[in-house]
């Protein structure tokens, strides 16, 4: 999974991924402290993540292993909102 920061959202009404009421967020991969490292991708939100929150993103075919994305044309999904990251014995991130 990738640690990522929610940095925006995307609205798209004309779609073919057949996901009802889909909420697409722009997320950017971060280091354990939550500092953005890479450019953004679009991920489907299934847990109600908000702007600037740190989240866990799953990509590839595994992104279809949730109730909402099963058999859907989705390759990136937010599977959790991060509360704490502990790295090498110290708290690297706390919500």
């Amino acid at each position: 999974m990738t640690l990522a920061r929610v940095c925006g959202n995307v609205v798209a009404t004309k779609r073919s991924d057949a996901v009802a009421g889909a909420r697409y967020l722009l997320v950017a991969a971060t280091d354990p402290m939550g500092n953005v490292l890479e450019r953004t991708i679009v991920a489907l939100d299934t847990v109600g993540a908000g702007l600037d929150e740190l989240v866990l993103v799953s990509q590839g075919s595994s992104a279809r292993q949730t109730r909402v994305t099963d058999k859907k044309a989705i390759d990136a999904v937010i599977i959790g909102i991060v509360d704490v990251v502990e790295a090498s014995g110290t708290v690297a991130y706390k919500k």
Binding site: G8, A12, S16, Y24, R39, T40, I74
Partner: protein, 99 residues
């Protein structure tokens, strides 16, 4: 999924039978902060009728075969949405048909 702009089309006539009746569009990945092209380009199957210059997003890998238009086709990149709006850090950075 990846945010991109339709920058061209690709036509192929000698192709595997599974490619009959599907359009290929040339996409360039966009940097959401500037909505400018990053130089990364890909050829994607179009499953939503995207037009030239439009902002879209596309799905990659096996998921790209799970739209009605690309089921059973050898696709690894399919446009699944035409984007209406992009908001970054609370600011609208793109709005379709904005004058």
């Amino acid at each position: 999924m990846v945010l991109a702009r339709v920058v061209g089309t690709v036509v192929s006539t000698s192709k595997v039978p599974q490619l009959q009746g599907i359009r290929f569009l040339l996409l360039e990945r966009l940097d959401a902060a500037t909505m400018k092209g990053t130089g990364d380009q890909v050829v994607a199957m179009d499953s939503v009728g995207a037009g030239p210059g439009e902002v879209v997003f596309y799905v990659s890998g096996s998921s790209s075969r799970l739209t009605p238009a690309t089921e059973g086709r050898p696709s690894d990149a399919t446009i699944t949405a035409i984007v209406d709006e992009v908001e970054l850090n609370g600011k609208a950075v793109y709005r379709k048909d904005a004058l």
